[in-house]
């Protein structure tokens, strides 16, 4: 994962960005309320980003297996279905990951 300095600098940068975002309305609340396009982007982008992160991490993990990708497809479908049905994040993650481990390791 690279040397400690790289990771520490990343943590500091991410912490600063996250804090700045959370603090912004306390400094510029009126400005934000006058710019509805910024608010609309804030509603639009999270769904896009989460889909992109899912696709990207799926590609990362599938890349380490040559050939068929049906275990990824099956486990992902289970996670989405469970989350849609039960709305319990930990349950969806745990059950989906267990199915995937079982499909890939076959114990």
């Amino acid at each position: 994962m690279g040397d400690s300095t790289y990771v520490i600098l990343t943590i500091v940068a991410m912490g600063a960005v996250t804090f700045a975002i959370r603090a912004l309305p306390f400094m510029t609340g009126r400005w934000l309320q006058r710019h509805p396009q910024v608010q609309r982007l804030g509603r639009f982008l999270p769904l896009s980003i989460m889909v992109l992160l899912t696709l990207h991490s799926l590609r990362d993990i599938a890349g380490s297996w040559a050939g068929q990708l049906w275990p990824e497809v099956l486990a992902l479908t289970l996670v989405i279905g469970l989350q849609w049905w039960r709305r319990h994040a930990l349950l969806s993650i745990a059950v989906g990951t267990l199915l995937y481990l079982w499909l890939r390791n076959g114990f």
Partner: protein, 219 residues
């Protein structure tokens, strides 16, 4: 407030301890030091972007790119503060910390507290919530550095977490466009810039979002 902040934070603990443990575990299994996993949960304290940082650090992306992705993922937090403007303590350090700790879960808890709750009680609640997240992370990081897993594919947990967040964002959607924009931009980004597909796709989605907003609402 009739109940203590500790009691009020129990529902958050139920989610934060195991999820923090998954983060700590995956971080260490990806080759990160245990104390850096804990430092992330102390200094960043934002679930989705902390999970996102693991593959990005492994890929060795530039710090600027990771910071940009953090900005986009956490953008929704801008709108939390707007509804809490009047509830924040006047005191410098307490105010600073409450703003720092404004995660999704803490935000929803703070908005449901009775009006007579004092600012210091809100700060305590925020602090206890972060304690759960940091404890979970420490637990997962220690486990992750002890266990030599023979299991291939444990990092599917990361895919599962993002998929869960997709479902929850989908429930809160105002249109299906963000989904289509992402599904189209990732393959295109992968074709033209395979090494930085995620970053290119985020950039394309931002441009598409601005353009779609412009054609529907005008300037």
């Amino acid at each position: 407030m009739g109940r203590s902040p500790l009691l009020l934070s129990v529902p958050v603990a139920v989610g934060y301890v195991p999820l923090g443990a998954v983060f700590g575990f995956l971080f260490v299994q990806a080759g990160g030091a245990w104390w850096l996993a804990i430092a992330s949960s102390v200094l960043i304290y934002a679930g989705a972007s902390q999970f996102m940082m693991i593959p990005m650090l492994t890929a060795g992306l530039p710090i600027g790119s990771i910071a940009l992705a953090t900005l986009v993922v956490n953008l929704r937090h801008v709108f939390y503060g707007l509804s809490l403007l009047h509830l924040v303590p006047k005191n410098g350090l307490a105010k600073f910390y409450l703003i720092f700790g404004l995660t999704d879960e803490t935000y929803s808890l703070l908005t449901t507290l009775p009006a007579e709750t004092t600012p210091m009680q809100r700060v305590w609640l925020t602090l206890i919530n972060q304690m759960w997240w940091v404890s979970g992370t420490a637990l997962g990081a220690v486990l992750g550095s002890q266990v030599q897993t023979q299991l291939a594919g444990l990092d599917f947990a990361l895919v599962a977490l993002f998929a869960v967040l997709v479902v929850e964002q989908w429930r809160a959607r105002s249109s299906a466009k963000p989904l289509w924009v992402a599904l189209l931009s990732y393959p295109v980004a992968w074709l033209i810039w395979p090494a930085h597909a995620l970053l290119a796709a985020i950039g394309m989605s931002v441009v598409a979002a601005i353009w779609l907003d412009w054609i529907t609402h005008g300037r």
